[in-house]
Subunit: 164 residues, 2 copies
């Protein structure tokens, strides 16, 4: 029988095992441009391994998913990190799994607040981009290069993910 996972609010501490929350709160702040701009500095650890690795900037346009979510699979990128920052102020769902001897363990789910993005560490199991309510555009900073940077895992029994 499918196990139900309840999503939690996304916080720096709860997400720390999986990567970084990209948000203004709790950042190193640098005031620039004659006081007219605050630089919230260096919010993510970009990882780029393997042959001909380069960072890239992309826009992902994702369709919304119905909740509760039937989570059939997760994936990971063994050669690089992957950051998602919304180009709008709507929440999205983040699903991650700890690694359990090369396979994904029990998922954890998070709901973002407006102004929050995430960076998934290299090799972090995660669900696909999951906008809520309506289609959404996201800036994605990840790796381009040679080598196989995608691994998928299909669960024997899907999980059900519910909003709080």
């Amino acid at each position: 029988m499918a196990k139900t996972i309840i999503a939690k609010p996304l916080t720096k501490s709860s997400f720390a095992p999986y990567g970084q929350v990209i948000e203004k709160q709790g950042s190193e702040e640098r005031v620039i441009n004659n006081g007219n701009c605050v630089r919230h500095h260096d919010l993510a650890k970009i990882e780029l391994d393997g042959p001909r690795a380069e960072p890239s900037i992309n826009i992902f346009c994702g369709q919304p998913y119905e909740m509760p979510l039937l989570l059939k699979m997760v994936e990971r990128h063994p050669l690089g990190s992957q950051a998602f920052v919304p180009m709008h102020d709507r929440p999205f769902l983040v699903v991650v799994c700890p690694d359990d001897n090369g396979k994904p363990g029990t998922p954890e789910a998070f709901v973002t607040e407006p102004g929050q993005g995430i960076n998934l560490s290299k090799g972090q199991w995660h669900g696909v981009l999951t906008p809520l309510g309506q289609e959404g555009d996201f800036v994605v900073i990840d790796r381009v290069g040679d080598g196989n940077n995608l691994e998928e895992y299909f669960f024997d029994t899907p999980f059900i993910v519910e909003l709080p």
Copy 2:
């Protein structure tokens, strides 16, 4: 007497001498996630020179400027590119100058449309982040590392920049 620059709509072709427009239109599209997401692929050329150079992800929170803008100075980053993508759907102003023997030439100004960001090439003279109307957050992808990555230039006579 101050010269007036009229801002133009931002397009890939008009901005090509200065860097890249980060937008979905005209991109290489890859359909992923079982058809639920389009990856607009590798939209910017990230440049990272000098000692200990690494890419970084930041959030810039910028105050709005009143228009017409009195443009007193521009700056450039000789060691790396700098990308700005809004985390909202409001336009912002982009000011750039061609290089004229190590000094900025006559400015050009562009107004973005919702969903457009920019990547400034390494060493590109540009005005500071200029939100319009209200405060705005932007994802900024640029370089961290050692070395002096900031050069400022103050015009003898400021320029006036007007919206179209």
